[in-house]
Each structure stands twice: as C-alpha cells, then as structure tokens.
C-alpha cells in the first residue's frame, strides 16, 4: 500500500476506477456507521449502492451522496403507513400503549401526543401505569395539567395492569377520544418486567383491542436498539416507533435496521423537552440529516 502512494492518486485514477473510489466508499460506509446504522445494514446498503454506481457508470462523490440518500429512503419504505391510530372508533376511545427502556422519553412523549390531540379538539385520558419509578405518576400528572388531559393514577406500588385497566375504563365511561397509557421503563432482558408488560396489555384488552403500541427509542441508542425493538415486539406487538431526542447530535440510524429487520415504522420524532417538540417522521428529512452533516 505504501508503494501506491508514490504514484499518487492521479495516476491511480487512470489505472483503476475501483481504487479511485475506495476512499469515497470508505467515507460512505463511515457516515452510516457513525450514525448507528450498524455494520450489517451498512454493508448491505453500500453493496446495493456499489451495484447502482456500477450500472450508472462513474459517479462523483456528490452524486454518490444523492444515491445513498435515495437508498436510505428506500430502506425506510416511504410508502409505509405512519399515521397514528389515535382517533376513536365506534364510539370507543382509541387506546395507545407506550413502552420502552428506562429514560427513553415515554412519559414526555405521552404528554406531547396528548398535547397534539387536545389541540385538535380531542379529549384525552393519561393512564399512569408506571407505578414503580419515583414520582413517575406525578410527572405524568404534571404533563396532564400542562396539556389539558385527565390523569388516572393508582397508589404507589399498585399493580400497573389494574391502573391501565382503570384508565381505559375511565376513558370509556367519560366518552373521551383517546387513552394513552404510560408504562414503567424496563430493559428488554428483564424477563419478569417484560412479562408484567405483557400482562398490562392483556388486561387492557379486556376492554377491546389496543389500537397502537408505541416503542420509544432514544436516538442516542446504538446497536442495542434493534434488540429492544425485537423483544418488545415479541411481548407486546409494537406497531410504531417514536424516535426521541433527535434534537441532539445523535442521528438515530438504528431505526433503519429496526425497519429493515422487523418492519416497524417510525411514526413520530421527539425534538425537545417541551410540549410542542413532537413531529411526524419524515423519511427524507431524517435521511438528509443523517447523510448531510459531513457532505
């Protein structure tokens, strides 16, 4: 490899296209890995990209970026339905279950979603089924007050499933539009806690089906995010991801692997700690932020 440098890039460029592009390809790969897309998904996406570049003849680095962005958007399947099932049906409130690992942003996201719904003229009940973490119910109650929703809570240490059940019951009795159930954070490798979550869902379903189960994924999460999505889906059949904390420097690339492997779409993104810092997921915007920074 040292001898190649003697010739310099100019000559090499004439001699071999593949060699010419090596640095560029490395850079493409590093962009993806640096965004937490992961080695497997990156290898796959870059492989497809190389194929396309070969078919199209040469590509400049800029063209390559554009092709990469297209490839990533395709991986995120923009056709996928990303609407939130949060509207009442047949006079029964929509029921949303919010799950995820500790500190990902579940309670905050409940508050933000309620805010959007209330602003749209809907009525919302928030169920404080995190009966475990210190002051978790108070935190949700604060959010409820902030956004104009009702909160249903039980005593500290109460059975989370029964609080969730009561919240939905209250929602039905009061004829509200949406019930959002906040659950305690749990790491997906804790079998007992995952069983508990399964029970919460089963008990809630005595009132009828859960319309949406949202997994909250922190954008700073690395490769473990895929495992989170896999296990939570196994236990409570996740229907959508909310990618939080995208207002920081993290790119959240793990959701690409999550969607490729498990077919679970990102529906919403969290962009701050305030009530209005929630936005629909836009694949193109997300990808531009992912590849754009070092373009």
């Amino acid at each position: 490899s040292r001898s190649q440098n003697v010739f310099g890039k100019g000559l090499l460029a004439l001699l071999s296209r593949d060699k010419l592009d090596d640095d560029t390809w490395d850079e493409v790969e590093e962009t993806l890995i640096g965004a937490d897309v992961g080695v497997a998904a990156t290898t796959d996406i870059v492989g497809k990209l190389r194929e396309r570049a070969r078919i199209h003849g040469t590509a400049t680095a800029t063209e390559l970026r554009a092709m990469l962005a297209d490839e990533l958007v395709a991986a995120l399947d923009p056709q996928m339905d990303r609407t939130l099932a949060a509207r009442p049906q047949d006079g029964r409130p929509a029921v949303l279950l919010v799950v995820g690992v500790n500190g990902a942003g579940k309670t905050t996201t409940c508050g933000k979603i309620a805010r959007v719904l209330v602003a749209d003229g809907h009525t919302v009940v928030l169920g404080a089924a995190d009966t475990f973490r210190a002051a978790a119910a108070e935190q949700l109650a604060t959010w409820a007050g902030r956004v104009g929703a009702e909160v249903v809570r039980g005593p500290e240490g109460a059975d989370p499933a029964s609080v969730a059940f009561d919240a939905v019951k209250r929602g039905i009795d009061a004829g509200v539009d949406t019930v959002l159930i906040d659950t305690a954070g749990r790491l997906q490798n804790k079998v007992g806690l995952m069983d508990e979550l399964g029970k919460v869902k089963r008990v809630v379903e005595k009132h009828g089906p859960v319309d949406e189960t949202l997994l909250i994924l922190d954008a700073t999460t690395g490769q473990n995010g895929l495992e989170q999505a896999r296990v939570f889906t196994e236990v409570v059949d996740v229907t959508g991801v909310v990618l939080t904390k995208l207002d920081g420097t993290a790119k959240g690339g793990i959701v690409i692997a999550v969607q490729r492997k498990l077919g679970i779409p990102v529906k919403l993104v969290g962009l701050g700690e305030g009530p209005d810092d929630l936005a629909p997921f836009d694949a193109r915007q997300f990808v531009d932020a992912l590849v754009g920074a070092d373009a």
Binding site: A135, Q139, L187
Partner: protein, 309 residues
C-alpha cells in the same frame, strides 16, 4: 446473532498453527475482524480506528505462543489493551480536604443522574458519611419529587428549597446548598442537575454556573451504556463544556455491549468510577475494567479459557 469474535478469528488462523509468527496478512485480517467486533459493540468509529492501529502495532511483533492458539492469543492482546484503555484499576472518589466534599452530576436527559444521586447517597451513608442531596434540576417535570423520594429511601436529607417544574434558579439552590451543608454538618454534597444536550449552549452555561457556584471535587458524567456512536460527540461536549473528572456508566444491567465505555474513556481521559446496574438504590458497584472489556468483546467464557492456558 453474529459469530463470536473467537470463531471468526479461528477461521483466519486455521493455517497458522505451525508457523512461528503472525504475518502482516494475518494481522490485517485480524484487525478487520476486531474492527467489526468493536463497531458491533458500539465503540465509536474514531476510537475503533485508534485502538485497532495500536493493536496492529502490538500484534506485528508478537511471537505465537505455545500455550494458546493464535486466535486466543490475539484475543488476549485485545483484552489486555481494552482493560488498559478502560483504566487499569478502579479509582476512588476524591474527597475534599475541608469538607464538605462536593459531587456534581451531569449528563444527557434520562441517563440516570437522579437515580445515581440516590445510590451515591445511600452508599456513602453506609460508609459513615453524612451526605446531603441537592435538587438542582428545576426543569424536568417532578425531578425534585423524584429526588425527594429517593432521598427518603436512602435516609438522606434532600435540600430542595425550590419546587422545580420551571420554578426556581438552580444556580442559587446549588450555591446555598453548600452553606446549608455546613450548617447541618454534612460532609458530602451531591448535586443533581437537569439533563442537557451537548449542543445546548445555554444549558451548558447553566451547568458551568452551577459548577462555579459549588466548586465541586468531582464532576461525574453519567452516561447510558446503551449509547452508540454519539458517545464521542456528547463526551467531548461535556468535557469542553462543564468539565468532567470522572464517568459513571449506567444501565449496565441491560444487554448492550457497552462500547460507549471505551469511547468516553478515550475522549475524556477520565476514569470510569462507578457502574449503575439497576433501578434500585443498591444496584450500584465500582467499575471493573476487566469485566467491561470482556463484555465489549462479548466473550467472558473465552477469556476464562485463556486465563487457564
């Protein structure tokens, strides 16, 4: 999900048994596998590069030992380098000559600061100290209540003169807490702060102001073990923003490989002091670099074999 690193390395080394030294080609092939293993464990890319370069250097000269097969030997070298990078032996907390010792906690939102405050308080109390917890997160909804509950569980006083939820000035609370601690004869002050992003300049300034108000003996940066590539950017931001004297890795009871440990250590140069390993106050341990190295490599069992060879 993937083959273990030892399987992959064994593949590379099948022909090597009889040879005496690792060839350059062996070393390159090995380096590629190590690079992949580290990336899959969420070690940040620039850190992986630096680490692999150092490793190649060391592997080039290495004799192939009799006792170990080449794959094991490389893993042993990698493990040793990882342990060295992660900090050799654990460091203790630095205590002030004139009490109170002040420990300030800082980190991203949801990383585990408030929980750690409770854990530290409980742990230090058990060692005969008289800690005071300070509620200087007046932003996150009910952060003050959360700390009060944890303080109650730890049997430690919580200084919370302001209600929080947007009301009160965290810098004044922090400043006054030191006076309060002196009056109450507390020898350790643990200051819980709001979560903040590295790029939030205003919030980082607030952290600096809290720091300047309490003149801490330790600024502990609390980082979630599940964090991926962003560990570098965030650790740099806190290092340059508020300054870090030590690191705490949280949520190590999960199954993330925890490559962030290596990234943070590389970026800050500061020791990882504690491991937070659960939601309860007793789920807390000093940090063990050797265990972390095995975890990052995903191969505790292989290492046991190597130790025995």
């Amino acid at each position: 999900m993937f083959d273990t690193l030892s399987d992959r390395l064994s593949g590379i080394f099948t022909k090597l048994r009889s040879k005496g030294r690792l060839t350059d080609a062996d070393v390159d092939a090995t380096a590629r596998e190590i690079r992949l293993a580290l990336l899959e464990a969420d070690v940040a890319l620039p850190v992986v590069k630096a680490f692999v370069a150092r490793l190649k250097e060391r592997a080039r000269g290495a004799e192939v030992s009799q006792a170990l097969n080449p794959a094991q030997q490389v893993i042993k070298i990698v493990h040793e380098e990882l342990v060295a990078t992660l900090g050799g032996e654990a460091r203790r907390l630095q205590f002030a000559k004139n009490p109170p010792t002040v420990i300030m906690l800082a980190g991203l939102q949801g990383s585990g600061k408030t929980t750690l405050a409770g854990k530290l308080a409980r742990w230090l109390k058990a060692q005969g100290h008289q800690p005071l917890l300070v509620a200087a997160d007046l932003q996150r909804p009910n952060a003050v209540n959360q700390l009060q509950v944890l303080g109650g569980r730890a049997g430690v006083e919580v200084y919370a003169p302001q209600p929080g939820n947007g009301v009160g000035d965290p810098v004044s609370v922090a400043r006054e807490s030191i006076e309060h601690a002196r009056r109450q004869m507390r020898d350790i002050v643990i200051v819980d702060t709001a979560g903040r992003l590295g790029i939030d300049a205003e919030m980082m300034r607030q952290a600096v102001n809290i720091r300047d108000a309490v003149d801490p003996d330790e600024v502990l940066f609390v980082i979630d073990a599940m964090v991926g590539q962003d560990a570098v950017a965030t650790a740099e931001a806190f290092r340059d923003g508020v300054g870090i004297s030590g690191v705490v890795l949280s949520k190590l009871d999960g199954d993330a490989r925890g490559g962030a440990a290596l990234s943070v250590r590389h970026v800050t140069g500061q020791p990882i002091i504690f491991a937070s390993t659960g939601e309860k106050l007793e789920d807390f341990d000093v940090f063990h670099p050797d265990r972390m190295a095995s975890r990052i490599l995903g191969m505790g069992d292989v290492l046991t074999l190597i130790e025995q060879a």
